[in-house]
């Protein structure tokens, strides 16, 4: 049988029909009734299923729960459910002295403890109408910027982890560890330090901690270059973040989103520049912005903000002049300076010697101030600072007593999380994770 004969007969071949072309004989492997069969099982139909993410899920930054209504891979509606980490911090504050309040607020947003303390203390100081010594202000700025870097490093690390860049997680946590070591050298604690107190800071920065900060400022730029080398040119990273979780300026303002997310949408609103506090007006730094308004832009903004924070820390180290770190008023200032002993941080031995064997009045004063605390004139203030996630506000109300009458924390994680439906609806399920990570919520701050 010749080829022409075969074509003429047009034998039906269910598996691989063949025909002759100028290039030679071509077989088309298809056929049968598979097309009809597949068409009957339409993957895109109007059946919707509810997918529950969390509250226990590594990609939800703690105990965030997301209830998604899915149509195939597409998110049709999404509702965040929060409150799983509510610990009643605001209520507890009303039963402690003003100074003890630091110990509570620092535990809200546990990645930004220094910010919580500073925002709260600025409110209390405004109510007290006291001015903090210059050295305490500079120390606060240095500590806040170190804390901003450590918080952004966790944001980069966890975003990396959630999008599959596991090396980034290792690097981010590795470098954050260096900052936690500095915090330990300064305050004795790595997290939740209660280091910033109404009237100043708990104790002066020791010299070896200053050396560690200088070393860190020298070390970090290389680390940032490494991250950029790892991620910025990475095709997978770009695909997962560019054009994902878009939220423009008007969306941000309507939902109240501030911080890196707002600046990544193009509005250079940074309270350190626009409503300065702690002497930020004396520092030379830029507010980076980007027009992308997507997860990619937020990643770039966080990297740039780390560079700017390093500049501020270097300037702060130069500004650091010897002097007191707590207000002069002995009715407010914590009586004991802490010192590092054999068993950790505690009251300095000199102070204990003084109150126990030299001065009865000093003992009474110490006892009264520590157990009773100081009185704060009645009134209410709102103090806001630029946290790593946005505006961190404290509405502090006093009735003239030794305890706060009411403290409300306006935590940026709480407000920003409202943007999840705007970011994620209409997109893919995988982008919910990328978008949520780009908001960098911390549930400790969100639920308080």
């Amino acid at each position: 049988m010749t080829a022409t004969d075969h074509t003429a007969e047009e034998v039906f071949d269910a598996f691989a029909p063949e025909r002759d072309t100028t290039e030679g004989r071509v077989y088309t492997v298809t056929g049968g009734d598979w097309d009809e069969l597949v068409a009957a099982v339409d993957p895109v139909n109007d059946e919707r299923i509810i997918v529950n993410l969390g509250p226990q899920h590594p990609s939800t930054h703690g105990v965030l729960r997301l209830v998604c209504e899915m149509e195939g891979e597409t998110v049709r509606s999404i509702r965040p459910v929060i409150g799983y980490l509510h610990t009643g911090i605001e209520k507890n504050l009303e039963y402690r002295t003003w100074t003890q309040g630091c110990t509570f607020v620092t535990r809200a947003d546990y990645l930004a403890p220094i910010f919580n303390e500073t925002g709260y203390c600025l409110g209390v100081e405004k109510l007290l109408d006291v001015t903090v010594p210059e050295r305490a202000n500079v120390i606060r700025v240095i500590m806040m910027e170190l804390n901003r870097i450590s918080s952004h490093l966790v944001a980069l690390a966890t975003t990396g982890m959630e999008l599959g860049a596991l090396s980034m997680m290792i690097y981010g946590f590795r470098d954050r560890e260096k900052i936690l070591d500095i915090f330990e050298a300064v305050s004795g604690l790595r997290m939740n330090m209660a280091y910033v107190r109404p009237g100043g800071v708990a104790q002066d920065i020791p010299d070896d901690a200053l050396r560690m900060i200088r070393d860190f400022v020298d070390y970090m730029p290389q680390g940032l270059d490494d991250y950029e080398g790892l991620l910025t040119g990475n095709a997978i990273w770009q695909e997962r973040t560019q054009g994902v979780a878009y939220l423009d300026v008007s969306g941000c303002l309507a939902i109240g989103v501030t911080g890196p997310v707002l600046r990544a949408a193009g509005l250079g609103w940074d309270l350190r520049k626009t409503m300065p506090y702690c002497g930020y007006e004396d520092y030379d730094f830029e507010v980076p912005t980007h027009n992308g308004a997507d997860a990619w832009a937020r990643y770039l903004i966080r990297l740039e903000e780390i560079r700017e924070s390093l500049k501020i820390i270097a300037q702060g180290l130069d500004k650091l002049e010897p002097g007191p770190v707590m207000v002069e008023d002995k009715k407010i200032a914590w009586p004991a300076q802490l010192a590092l002993g054999a068993d950790g941080m505690g009251n300095s031995l000199n102070h204990i010697r003084h109150i126990m064997s030299q001065s009865m009045e000093a003992l009474i004063h110490h006892f009264k101030l520590v157990t009773e605390g100081f009185r704060v004139p009645a009134g209410q203030v709102y103090s806001a600072i630029e946290g790593p996630r946005g505006e961190l506000g404290f509405h502090v109300v006093s009735d003239g007593g030794t305890r706060p009458f009411r403290v409300h924390m306006r935590d940026p994680s709480f407000v920003n999380l409202q943007a999840i439906p705007a970011l994620a609806e209409g997109g893919l399920l995988a982008d919910v994770i990328a978008g949520g990570a780009s908001l960098d919520p911390v549930m400790g701050g969100c639920d308080r």
Partner: protein, 221 residues
Amino acid sequence: MSEGEVQPVGMQQKGLFGATDAGDTSGFGGLVRANPTAGEIVSTPEPLGGYFDEILAALRELLGDDVVRVVVVDRGELTIHIAPDRTAEVCQTMRDDESLRFELCSSVSGVDYPEQANRLHVAYHLTSMTYRRRVRLETSVSAEHPVVTSVTKVYPTADWQEREVYDMFGVVFEGHPHLTRILMPDDWEGHPQRRDYPLGGIDVEYKGAHIPPPDERRAYR
């Protein structure tokens, strides 16, 4: 004070320890202090200075003189007390008028002043990014009729924050799209941030001594 009775903070204004038996050894057992949170709120005399007068003038011109109930300037912050049914209207004007332009509703928080007739206060902290100003709008309602008009149509960011105030204080926001509890469980009873709601906690025994929970301890006032 009898044992086990919960002592609300801020209500006890007699003595130093809050003790009614012989426990107050401070010598100040008969001291009675004024309670600054109980009285009427008094307006600061005008002019207030700075941009405060401009904001007030603009508000009065656009919404009428009666929109502002009380104006307080304290520690460099402006507080405008308004009626609970006019919050949305005032916020709309505050946001849209060119001379005001408060684009961002930074924070919504509740405060409970148990000794006032309208004990539940809601404070809106507005921020003007254009003029770099802040202002606090405050409104108050009674616990029996705790209804405030929701501002979610003007400021969508107030959504969760009003839910939090409802959850914690029991203020009902009329016009809110989905007013449910947000931090506490759905079936929770009571509103925990009210001053007469106990903190809770349990007595802890250590080597025979009992340490009462924080809200039942004897403490200075």
